[in-house]
Symmetry: D2
Subunit: 504 residues, 4 copies
């Protein structure tokens, strides 16, 4: 791997090993769908809630559709009509799971909904959210985005006390804690949350209340809006925009918002600890038209690109971004350097879950799946290729090679985030640390592994500056633990849980 | 209704009211299927289990297929491979829910499976069985056939203790009771069953055991067989026959059979109380090629027909049965009387769930759905029409009229069971008592309501004699409560539950 | 095969060879369904037409549903609304292909419809009927039941003249002949039919006419009925009964009935040649509640059983029929002999196209698919087993063995038709003559091959007498060519076509 | 409409009328899918062919996937294995219609495939291509992209000669012409094409040949490539790139390329008439990574944007493009003017055929479907919005209003093509001329109708210059008839056909 060979064997075999995962990774899960493992930290989940609108389920449909990028595997909506719950969940995209009849049956003026990303192996309809339970006070629907570090500990305790579980979801644990508390619902929820360690946004619906909550560090975004008299909750502001709702404010770390017939009650179940908003939300996850703590994501990413240009200018003919997530940063890089921004890479927008992957033979012969390089644009050009992150490195190598085969004379890779080195405990699905290329290789080694002429990762400081807009804290309230191993919460437990979203 | 008019208005409006239910009763349930409400006590559920065969799920598939008549709405199989559970459940028939891939994925040498009948309103995938839980000792799969009278009482208690429920199934209650017991599994199961009142057959699978149990009165049939070294459990012997297994014995009332690596252990959780096998199993539910307590159903039904002929001979030209369930009794009636047995009524075997019901207008014009009378067979004939039961009376009226329109000069109705007057608490889905025609009308009134020339119901004694084969008890170990209101268990509770199978 | 071994090797290997076909014969056709090859001459097709009813497509739905036994593979309806054609076709049963929306879209007061049986290898949606064409005078829809012997000759001629074909159906040939004729439609149809040799029933719909026709020998049944003012055509009377229509008369051999705004016009395109109604319609195909030339099928089959009893009485304990098609004959045999008629064999009514066939291993272990013997009924008994025909013999062997394994001490097979020895050219799908067991073996050899204690086939004369009811011709107007090789039409051509229904 | 009101009533009602179409335009077609009518000239169709590759169907799958933007309604592939044709067609996207089994069954080393766009009303599986026929020399498969102006005339003639048609497709007409010719296939094809007037690309496959042809004006693109020894044909070069094939050359106007066992034969069926490549291919249809006559589409569109900036500069704060088709032009406009390029509009990439459209009420409340404006990006900004065309104007109005509601202080619309005023006869689905806003309104009137602060359409000369790269002809070989009414072929016929792709 250290050789000077421009495309050493190890690189190829590195590709092959990764590719092997790529192809064998395709499998039919229980819901009947075929899934592709791609070299990205995976998006986690999204939640959406409505209180006080006659078509609460309809709004949820459009809201969840706007949050679809946060989870493509399954989705669900639970509506409440005078305390009677109607719900439907299914495998697939929002537009696939619901038709007019199914949606029309979800009557009521309150609803919570969920889109779920799956880790391989747990693609089951049974894990689709919201989970709906019956407990002593009636119906209880819960959905969540994030991960509870100490979920296995609590689950073990609950099992010892005789609890049974039908899913592997954190959400079910919460429901047990709530149901086992002898207190009033709001107090029970507070008690339950006080036991949790991790990063999460929760929506809870009972026959007479809707509760929204955010973990004490604020890892996962959750916003509140208004649409006429109705209250809306959503993982991202783009969902508010989609339904024409007005943004009111972010749900604060440690906060518990309770809606019932008396309106909104703002409570806390914990004081805010060090604010630690997931940096990957800014870098990659959230939609560019969303704002987190009033910072627009497209603008933040553009600033990351500008910052990257300042830190690592390279003379080149064109700048291109890896679609779709790196477009904003590429625009920023181009604007800062004056190098023209071009569509050097095109993504086939029709690729999806059910697409048949090419055979090994066809792939070796050059069949592309998702991305193509645009020969006429890159031929004979020195290319700056902007990407948002490198996880395993295999996709980067593929894209660099694709650009070279299309005639690029030089390929300079610029990454709009620092090297991704540590597993996440707060809801991002990360590979085994051994598979994180930055945890085992130097930047120069990565450069060789991805066959680039040069490679630069945005500095942590540059990232913080680009996000900007936060208070005076040194890291401006971001969780950067995947880059710097500085975990905002305790993470060591007898039974720790990492690398997956809590809804698994 | 008391008038001498051969087809009084009340009859017609009776039809219309019933028909209204008929047509509006069609609805799309959550699984997307359309259901037809027919004038029968509904079949309940069936269970099947395998211990010690390399293709346990495959056998379950064929076994459940043989039990399909016990429940057409949903089905499922859970297999265990070295303690790892694989399961699949879905809405629809066994042949619809499973394909080769899904079935092939259910690896393991143990399995339990279920076919489920639904009451309207609870047609949900979430209620499909087996239910699979995680508890302190690992995985737990449960399926059941029957009904627990005191389920609401226990559920209330469990909720007060902090339990949460995801289904409305009795099965989930059992799982909670088991998980909450601090004792060893077998003792925990015994304790749990000791609390239950009702009629049920249970199959329970854990990582190392398979348990079969039958309620202390033996309401619901459950048999054990062997296939080579493997043990098989099934609701009916026809499922043993289908897979080529040998019948060993009926599971006795109050008995608990435990299979693990040490083989079979025969235990009891209760002494047998008064044996009370559901008479409707003999009359209508079970397949004619099954045996219950070694009494073959076809033969028993034929004896019912013979008995009916002795009790209520009528001079006629032909005997015909309402297909499919009354064929055996009709053959018996014909054999006893010497009147030729003919196919006077033909059932369209392709009718099913997704069939589009004719519009009111087409129906009025005479469009038939399921049954047709065979004009050339019945024209100018005095017909004895044998049916197994009358529930609401609406279907009987339709069939009698159909025979008359086809030219029958007389239609004499003979029913191979006593009048159905009382709700069932042990697993049969019965209508509201007010809708049971025999609970509000005399035999003569029913005769008029169904437009028959004569009507006779088999006597209770005749029924008991026809079933025969049992021990010396007066009623030979049958539950006849739907005929005589003599319920074998306590049925009054603050929260009683009737008229549905426990798996709802 | 000639040995005295009660179950010689050849028998077993005969089974195996057949079984091999059985299992490898399962395949996914283009429509996505799995098909089972069973040892029966296959049912062919059914047609249904309506002229002058506001819900013509709705009636066709129920009519085709009643004819479903004539073809389960695909179906279709084409309705005409003021000359505008609306049609839908699909793979599967009527109830599967149509839903309310699809059926509701077929507006118009005229319609023709079709159910199609497929031969293996040509299971394509493209072959589903009615075929709908555009020609110089507008739309043309055609559907047919039967087979044209000289279709390949005509097709070759048409191709030489520049015709193109999209299907392998006889129906398309007819459409070409009609479109190429310069004459008026009715004359063009007559000319076209004058060229055809074979057995067929046709329904043709144009913008202003509906035409029904039957071949000059009357091989395939076709009847006319009235429902109020509307005219109805159907392959069998049971479809008239189902929709409440009144039977008017059979369409006569060589007859052409034309319906247009002026009402019914009765024409002929050929004089009736020797009448030759397919005997297999009487023996096996048509529904027992249908009448052909006013002979009821149940009654005719019962007479076949009675005749069989007279020709081949055997002392036995019970008579049982192979369900469903041999029930009537078994009743007749029992009635004639006084031996009790019993349900010794039970068919699983849920088996169907998508059912997963058991693996070789499971089958060897005794897993049954469709039929089970009822142990308690046959155990220790001398059984007379009535079947309607023996084609390859493999199924008969399976059933005889099944009865023996269930304890029958003797199994006497009685077949309600003569030995099936010759291929059919008129619409029945028959195997390669070499696979017709009666074409290569004597009755005694067949008896051994199917492992029966005795075997008897109904005599040709007995069959003719049992059908009865016809005119004074010696064979009473039946086509018995599959038994006696006396083909009513020329069948030798350079390019002959046999053993399939014309709609393939 | 002429008033000075910034948002006059007529504008609103214009919206409403258009919206009405929008919502009522959603319908279920025969294939069961829901379609949305959007304000764009619709993409037409795409063809793909392989000769000489062992996995011809597999390559076609990936090639058609790359051409999916040319037709989303139905698709199909026909492969030839030693002259035996295997094909599959279906409604939906390539990834939906084919699964591994279906694709795997299409064996052979030659294949042709098609993606089809549908006009409303003709969404039928029967129209899916390739169409496959049998004619005197065996099988014949044909697929096409484009439109034949004189198809109705030829069809009428063929009908008069006795031809029958099963589809409304131009493709079937060609097959008839070929089959009716007494000549050798290649001569027959030449004769057939000599009769056609229109714009088209054809692929024809017989048992031993594959033929590709392009109309004499070259309206529709068709390219040839090589992949190893195999020949590839595709509507666009992006499909070559996707499968790793090398571009060889464009198929020339009037050219006929024949592949058989002797390799490639280059013939002509007509001399090239005035070259007239569809300008809309450059402006909007083709993928940005494709080249037509060696002009890259992204680059050409970027030049259109630059040209637009030169012709109609406006002082503004940001430039944004309407995704996805106007991105390249927006980048060009930004680069030329120095105004920053931003993502002011975001498209939800998950929207598709089955998406449930919001109710009138939700829409009025602001629910967005496909596009959202990014508030933080446009708020308080003067926006230049680049779009590629205006057809009805309704979508432009929606987007302008969306930008205003998100806070844009000014919205200047720049269109990268001239006003679209005339129907297309060569394969673009255009609305009724009365619905083309530019055919009835002046630019100033359109500006008001879409509520823009300023509006400019690219000049015809500017468009020609931007496409560039062609020979010395005045209009550089483009068909600009939709802008200037200068149709390159005769278009007046007794029975003319316009506004649809020939494959309808």
């Amino acid at each position: 791997m250290e050789g000077s060979d421009p495309m050493p064997d190890a690189v190829k075999s590195g590709v092959d090993a990764a590719e092997a995962r790529f192809w064998t990774g395709n499998h039919y899960n229980e819901g009947g769908f075929q899934e592709e493992i791609f070299d990205k930290a995976k998006e986690e989940c999204g939640v959406f809630g409505v209180f006080g609108h006659p078509d609460a389920a309809g709004l949820s449909y459009y809201g969840l559709h706007a949050l679809q990028h946060r989870g493509e595997e399954s989705c669900g909506i639970c509506a409440s009509e005078d305390g009677e719950f109607h719900y439907h969940r299914g495998m697939g995209l929002v537009k696939e799971v619901f038709d007019r009849d199914r949606l029309g049956a979800l009557k009521g003026d309150r609803a919570i909904g969920h889109v779920r990303y799956s880790t391989s192996g747990s693609s089951k309809l049974g894990n689709a959210q919201p989970l709906v339970f019956k407990y002593r006070d009636g119906d209880l629907a819960v959905c969540t985005n994030g991960n509870l570090v100490n979920e296995p500990v609590i689950r073990r305790e609950l099992e010892e006390q005789g609890s049974i579980f039908q899913t592997s979801s954190d959400t079910e644990v919460i429901a047990h804690l709530i149901a086992r508390s002898p207190k009033d619902l709001v107090e029970a929820v507070k008690d339950a949350f006080a036991r949790l360690i991790g990063g999460y946004a929760f929506l809870i619906m009972t026959k007479d209340r809707l509760i929204a909550a955010c973990d004490p560090n604020g890892f996962r975004p959750l916003v509140m809006g208004r649409l006429g008299e109705a209250y809306i909750f959503a993982s991202e502001t783009c969902a508010l925009e989609t339904i024409g709702a007005e943004f009111v404010r972010d749900v604060q770390p440690g906060e518990l918002l309770v809606l019932d017939k008396d309106g909104l009650r703002e409570e806390r179940f914990a004081k805010m600890e060090r604010r630690a908003v997931c940096a990957m939300e800014y870098i990659y996850f959230a939609r560019p038209d969303s704002d987190i703590y009033s910072v627009n994501l497209h603008s933040a990413r553009k600033r990351m690109g500008q910052q990257l240009a300042q830190e690592a200018f390279v003379d080149a003919d064109i700048v291109t971004g890896v679609p779709d997530s790196s477009i904003s940063a590429a625009i920023g890089y181009a604007e800062q350097t004056g190098i023209p921004y071009e569509l050097g890479l095109i993504k086939n927008k029709y690729t999806g879950r059910t697409f048949i992957q090419p055979s090994q033979e066809l792939r070796e012969k050059g069949v592309k799946m998702k991305l193509s390089a645009v020969r006429k644009v890159v031929e004979g050009k020195r290319v700056v290729m902007i990407d948002d992150s490198i996880v395993r490195g295999t996709t980067s190598l593929r894209i660099v090679n694709m650009l070279r085969e299309a005639g690029a004379t030089e390929v300079h890779v610029r990454i709009s985030s620092p090297p991704f080195m540590n597993p996440c405990y707060y809801g991002i699905d990360t590979p085994n640390p051994a598979d994180l290329i930055a945890s085992t290789k130097s930047v120069e080694e990565i450069r060789k592994a991805i066959n680039a002429d040069s490679l630069y990762f945005l500095s942590k400081e540059g990232l913080i500056d680009a996000v900007g807009g936060h208070d005076g804290e040194k890291n401006r309230g971001l969780c950067l633990s995947c880059f710097d191993h500085d975990y905002p919460t305790k993470v060591e437990f007898e039974l720790a849980k990492a690398t997956s979203c809590s809804c698994d």
